[in-house]
């Protein structure tokens, strides 16, 4: 189980995250929603061990990130929002680097890389430098890298950006299967439709605090009780119609 307790993060006096707590159980896919600047990425960075919280703690299966960072990180797979990877390497070279850093034995690693690249339709490009890869191809390499060591917790930050329809459908099916097999999936996104289709539970963050934590099926399909309307209400988003009008007028006036 992933346990986040009282996560707080301050950046030079600015409170980015304010006592955020939540749990994630094996077999669960939790959607993590919030407007830009609400603290989503900060939470993700703390959960994957890239940032240390100013206060609070996070643990996976009883392993605390502060006390046993190595054991903790070994159990996590992470797909970042932007496809940041060493693009001068080929997909195969990158996955080999990641696999060796995660101490996967040689033959197992070779087999997994080869199979994953084939299944993710990257086989033809496996020996090409990733400089020429599209965003979707890079995203697929990151998905392969995150799953390579068979982690207990998979943290996804906007994993569908750049993926084409087929890859998106495949990835959705894969996430469901992983959850059915007992993996925990923490899914940070802006897309309500994905949360509604994929997640069992949703956490909405606003100004660094948890505004809603609820089961997804508790929301209506449409109308004021829907996830989207509730999100707009609790995160105090502006009325977009006047803004859209202003933008239109800016481009049409001399």
């Amino acid at each position: 189980m992933l346990e986040a307790r009282g996560l707080t993060k301050r950046y030079k006096g600015l409170l980015a995250l304010d006592r955020v707590s939540f749990d994630l159980h094996p077999g669960e896919i939790v959607g993590y929603l919030g407007p830009n600047g609400s603290g989503k990425s900060t939470t993700v960075n703390i959960v994957v061990g890239l940032l240390e919280p100013s206060a609070g703690s996070v643990s996976v299966g009883g392993l605390n990130a502060a006390e046993d960072p190595v054991g903790y990180k070994k159990r996590i797979g992470y797909v970042p929002e932007e496809p940041y990877l060493y693009t001068h390497l080929t997909a195969s070279e990158y996955l080999t680097l990641v696999g060796r850093l995660r101490r996967i034995p040689g033959r197992t690693l070779e087999h997994r890389i080869s199979t994953l690249l084939q299944l993710l339709q990257l086989q033809d490009a496996r020996y090409k430098s990733m400089t020429a890869f599209s965003k979707g191809m890079r995203q697929r390499v990151l998905v392969a890298a995150a799953l390579l060591h068979n982690p207990d917790l998979i943290v996804l930050d906007e994993p569908f950006s750049g993926l084409d329809v087929n890859a998106g459908l495949l990835f959705r099916a894969l996430l469901r299967l992983l959850a059915d097999e007992g993996r925990m999936i923490f899914f940070s996104t802006h897309r309500f439709d994905m949360v509604e289709k994929l997640c069992s539970r949703v956490i909405v963050l606003s100004s660094g605090r948890v505004a809603i934590e609820s089961r997804v099926d508790a929301f209506d399909k449409a109308g004021p009780g829907s996830l989207e309307e509730t999100f707009v209400r609790v995160t105090q988003q502006a009325d977009y119609q006047p803004l859209a009008r202003q933008i239109f007028e800016t481009i049409t006036q001399g």
Binding site: L50, K73, Y78, L85, E93, R100, L101, A132
Partner: protein, 563 residues
């Protein structure tokens, strides 16, 4: 008033020439500062040379015409060669921006612009860039040239000299720039699309390396009067002497052989450069979108994941370092440029001690080479090792380092830093020793084994000293250029160089004279290196690796008011 598109584009392309294609904004600023510093040093040397030339030509104006001609021939070869070197270096550095590329194609061709506008703007930017370079280099050396006109026959003889030199020197600089443009043109047109970048990187690094190495040779042209009077065979292989031959021929003083080579060389470079532009213009879309060459995937044995190893992380990071050094212009450039500087020192030492004569006449005829072969491995090591350390410390896509941050643990650190040390050792010590060992064997026979052993241990100690506080996984830490106090670093660098090369070659000489000394020196050196290695291992396990470069620690207050 709106700027015309061609003017906007010309400005854009011209600015791109100074972008160098491999530096961040901070790095580019630092690089420009470094270039300005180098120009200031050049200016200082230039003033010194003016004084030398004044004295020299004041004396020559009273000498016979033959003596003057011999002296002026060599000096003009130098004054032609130096601008050629400057122009070739700058055009090689701007190699990525000489032709419209795939990015230009994809971005500009979808805009409402004609192909003529794009190519015209690129060509205008190139002409402006190279024109400014040629004129700047010529103008910088103009005072020296004017002093060489003080001749025994007076002002009337100076005019033809000036005209012949102007034609030859401008032609030489144009040749230097055009030859590099032509080479890039051939790469753009002939190399398969998926290999263009890789080949361009390698060619650029090679060119810059060769140019850095050739600088001492250019500086030696001023002493080549004997070679010109004897018509030495090597004159046919050095482009600056072709154009000096052209000047002599224009003045009616020399045979047409070298002048012919100059004209043919210039015409060929011009023809290939123009043809490349013309072909690219006509077939821009076809060239930019030509299918990638399909080739069988290469699988390096040392990269193959199936190979089980006791230290998988060390192997992974070492391979990561090798691949990055092979594919990144910046990292390769650092090693190549500094390595070439060391190579230049080596070459200069060999030429001073007449390597050619030694190789031709046999192994036991030339004592001067002995000192050179004893000394050369040490400057090579002390320049290439820090160059490698620097190259590994400069980041490669910093945002991608999260993969190392999320897998950080004591063993990863230890093995990753071990991989960095191993890479520095291989390139900074192994390569120079392997390069010089055959020559040492030729001269010293089996004694070369003693030399290699001594050099390897000295190199190991150097690497351990250099990497003793190393906390960086290669290419993953941000880098602040120029954070040290430059004069202090300069003094430290010069002192280290003199100490390592002086002490190293002296001790080695002693070992060759009395092999009894070898274990006496090697044992403490190896013990010190081993201790440093163990200390580094403990240090790596206990401290976290650095991902953010830091400024040197704050000034320590003297705290005089504390009781």
């Amino acid at each position: 008033m709106h700027d015309q598109p061609w003017r906007v584009l010309t400005r854009h392309f011209f600015n791109a020439m100074f972008d160098f294609g491999f530096l961040s904004d901070a790095g580019a600023e630092s690089f420009k500062r470094m270039l300005m510093g180098a120009a200031a040093v050049g200016l200082g040397i230039g003033f010194g040379m003016v004084r030398v030339y004044i004295t020299k030509y004041a004396n020559l104006s009273n000498a016979s015409i033959d003596v003057y001609t011999r002296a002026v021939t060599a000096d003009h070869a130098f004054l032609i060669g130096l601008p050629m070197w400057i122009v070739a270096s700058a055009v090689a550095l701007a190699g990525h921006a000489l032709f419209p590329d795939e990015t230009d194609f994809r971005i500009l061709m979808k805009e409402p612009l004609r192909r003529t506008t794009i190519f015209g703007a690129k060509l205008a930017a190139l002409l402006l860039f190279s024109g400014l370079l040629v004129l700047g280099a010529q103008a910088a050396l103009l005072p020296l040239f004017l002093l060489t006109l003080m001749n025994p026959e007076g002002f009337s003889a100076a005019v033809p000299y000036a005209l012949a030199f102007a034609v030859s020197s401008l032609a030489a600089s144009a040749f230097a720039g055009l030859a590099i443009v032509a080479l890039h043109g051939v790469i753009v047109l002939c190399v398969p699309r998926n290999l263009t970048t890789k080949v361009a990187i390698v060619v650029r690094s090679l060119l810059i390396g060769l140019l850095v190495m050739s600088l001492p040779l250019v500086l030696r042209l001023g002493g080549s009067s004997g070679a010109f009077s004897q018509n030495a065979p090597w004159l046919r292989w050095t482009p600056p002497t072709w154009f000096e031959g052209l000047e002599r021929w224009l003045l009616g003083q020399g045979r047409s052989g070298l002048a012919f080579e100059a004209v043919i060389g210039l015409a060929l470079a011009l023809a290939v450069a123009v043809a490349s532009y013309a072909i690219l213009y006509r077939h821009f879309d076809r060239v930019m979108l030509r299918p990638m060459a399909s080739h069988a995937p290469r699988r390096w044995r040392w990269w193959a994941p199936a190979r089980e190893t006791a230290r998988p992380i060390r192997v992974a990071v070492r391979n990561f370092a090798w691949i990055t050094l092979r594919r990144s212009v910046l990292h390769q450039g650092i090693v190549v440029v500094l390595g070439a500087a060391a190579g230049g020192l080596m070459l200069n030492s060999f030429i001073n001690n007449d390597l050619v004569t030694w190789l031709r006449d046999g192994t036991d005829s030339h004592g001067a080479m002995l000192g050179s072969l004893l000394w050369v491995p040490f400057p090579l090591m002390i320049i290439v090792c820090p160059a490698m350390r620097l190259a590994l410390g400069v980041p490669m896509d910093l945002r991608a380092n999260w993969i190392f941050r999320t897998t950080d643990e004591g063993n990863v650190r230890l093995q990753a830093i071990g991989a960095a040390v191993q890479t520095v050792m291989l390139v900074g010590v192994g390569l120079p020793v392997a390069l010089i060992a055959p020559l040492q064997w030729l001269m010293f026979g089996p004694y070369a084994i003693i030399m290699v052993a001594f050099e390897l241990v000295a190199g190991w100690l150097l690497v351990e000293l250099l990497m003793s506080n190393y906390r960086v996984i290669p290419f993953t830490c941000s880098y602040i250029p120029g954070k040290g106090f430059v004069p202090q670093m300069f003094v430290k660098g010069v002192f280290s160089f003199l100490l390592f090369t002086g002490l190293g070659s002296s001790l080695l000489r002693l070992c060759l004279r009395e092999p009894f000394f070898l274990p006496l020196f090697l044992t403490p050196m190896a013990a010190a290196a081993l201790m440093l290695q163990m200390r580094r291992g403990r240090h790596a396990r206990l401290t976290t690796p650095m991902f953010e470069d830091e400024m040197p620690s704050e000034v320590n207050p003297l705290r005089l008011n504390v009781d």
